[in-house]
Symmetry: C2
Subunit: 327 residues, 2 copies
């Protein structure tokens, strides 16, 4: 045993890189650093390494990283991530491990968030958990039988990319009818924009080029504000997102039969606007009412720290597995 | 250690009850018995107990049962099964255990079949497996991280009841747009019947009452024969089933990321009629091509014995867990 063993957690986001160091008992960081990712500019790896260096100490024994995917967690390789165009088949874990001399454990942000909520947050004590993050996209992380579901290639639980209507609208990924293409912030904004362009009455106004839904930069937040002020188009946009989210979660119940479904991400903050129609749709679409017996539907507990704390939990878990193997 | 430890496996089907006894090393039964279930007539439990009695020996130490669901495997209770109307909240495992004096381990037929294929069949050595049975319905069994996925209430992996189109046709369960309502034998027959009633040309003829799709007793087998003889409606009925099956499996890949997908059940025997359109649809709808790298798509290996062998594998697995706990 070393006298002190620190873990570094990294949350590599599209907007910010966050790094923090923790001792072996606490989830309160010893040091914490945050900088802009500038993901579309060269040098992301150098900025990341510097951000890690800023919380580094010689007592660090392992590192966990929550990264956008798709990625291969078994080799620590970023396959491709739309946010960081310079990274394709980028061996991030290996490069960090070479630079810092400690094992680096990597998985995608939604898996790490789900693992974090299970370890430290709303999902503590559950054996079967579904975590969903609803923001610009829809991501998922799942615990089955007390283990993170990663799959053969490490690509499991891309829950936002489940097809719920093969003739549905295009998803950010290029395919059609994914729950993300109905229920994400992006989808809510897109639907609202299209309805305005089709002549629907609303208090909302399109900025930018009103002929292009992609440039007409309405945000889910603006739409939520209009909905709370009584705008019926805005209300119906969230109702539609909630309806399809209910279908998706009915499917996850039939598939995983969890004891808890946890919602994180910015769009999930809007409350009843989304969750009243969601719950109605969930009850309507759930295959058998027994799935709902004692099912907990919860808000994520870890807030903005979920990526860091998930990466921390994962690095500690992997390290304790390694220690057990060595003994 | 006893000198001999036998396991009884039970496959409780809608048509037949099968029972068999096995020693601790082999999957060849010592004794085997088969009788009609007569599921809609009273006395199913007595027929079942008698069928077990017919393969009983005093060396039996445990029993596994594959039963139609929905059921609670943790308490061994049949919640309700459409085939056996006299069983509602029926404590089958407990009743059998009291009658025979050995532990009885129960799960639904698709889960047991998946566990059997993983233990003895096409899925040996895989860590993440999806088993699908396509017959009158569509059922599923899943291995994640080397463990059977059962879920909080024991109702996980009802894969046939995943919604793939909320406005789709009615499923046998009463909900709409499940993959079972597109791709099961029942769905293929229903679609074909409706197309004939709508005036589509075909070599097929409706028996019974042609005004009711439920009474017009076409079977998937008849439709397959017509398709193999070149009937274009029959071909299109299987193409449609395969298309939706491809969507469903694309979803299972995104959700579970298995290394193998195994198809069992009578309808899966038709070959290219179903699987050519399936594969085309799977490729089109799979979220990321990386899921398909080294993915095995296999036919079930255990044939009609899959229920018995699944129940055998499960009883042996549960017994070895119990022995490990006692030691």
């Amino acid at each position: 045993m070393t006298s002190m063993s620190l873990t570094i957690a990294v949350d590599l986001g599209g907007t910010h890189i966050r790094t923090a160091s923790y001792n072996s008992e606490s989830i309160t960081p010893i040091a914490h650093y945050r900088t802009r990712t500038n993901a579309h500019e060269p040098g992301v790896f150098d900025r990341l390494a510097q951000a890690i260096g800023n919380v580094w100490s010689d007592d660090v024994t392992s590192m966990g990283v929550a990264s956008p995917g798709p990625l291969d967690p078994y080799t620590g390789t970023i396959l491709a991530t739309p946010n960081i165009p310079e990274w394709r088949n980028f061996r991030l874990a290996q490069k960090l491990s070479e630079r810092f001399g400690v094992p680096v454990h990597l998985d995608n942000d939604a898996n790490m968030a789900g693992f974090g909520e299970w370890t430290f947050g709303a999902g503590k004590g559950h054996h079967n958990l579904v975590y969903l993050t609803i923001s610009t996209g829809v991501g998922g992380g799942v615990i089955c039988n007390d283990a993170l579901l990663q799959g053969f290639h490490g690509l499991a639980t891309e829950l936002g990319h489940m097809i719920v209507d093969p003739d549905g609208p295009p998803c950010g990924c290029g395919k059609n009818g994914h729950v993300e293409s109905f229920s994400s912030g992006t989808a809510i904004a897109r639907y609202t924009t299209e309805q305005i362009q089709a002549g629907q009455k609303t208090s909302l106004q399109l900025d930018g080029d009103p002929s292009s839904p992609l440039r007409a930069n309405l945000t889910a937040k603006q739409i939520a504000e209009a909905a709370l002020a009584g705008d019926s188009l805005a209300i119906s946009a969230f109702a539609r997102a909630g309806y399809y989210l209910g279908i998706a979660v009915a499917n996850y119940l039939a598939i995983f039969d969890p004891s808890i479904v946890i919602f994180g991400g910015g769009v999930s903050q809007v409350g009843d606007l989304l969750f009243k129609p969601f719950e109605e749709s969930l009850r309507k679409h759930t295959f058998h009412p027994h799935y709902l017996d004692n099912l907990v539907i919860a808000k994520a507990a870890l807030g903005d720290d979920v990526g860091l704390l998930g990466a921390l939990a994962w690095a500690r878990f992997k390290r304790s597995n390694e220690m057990a193997r060595v003994e």
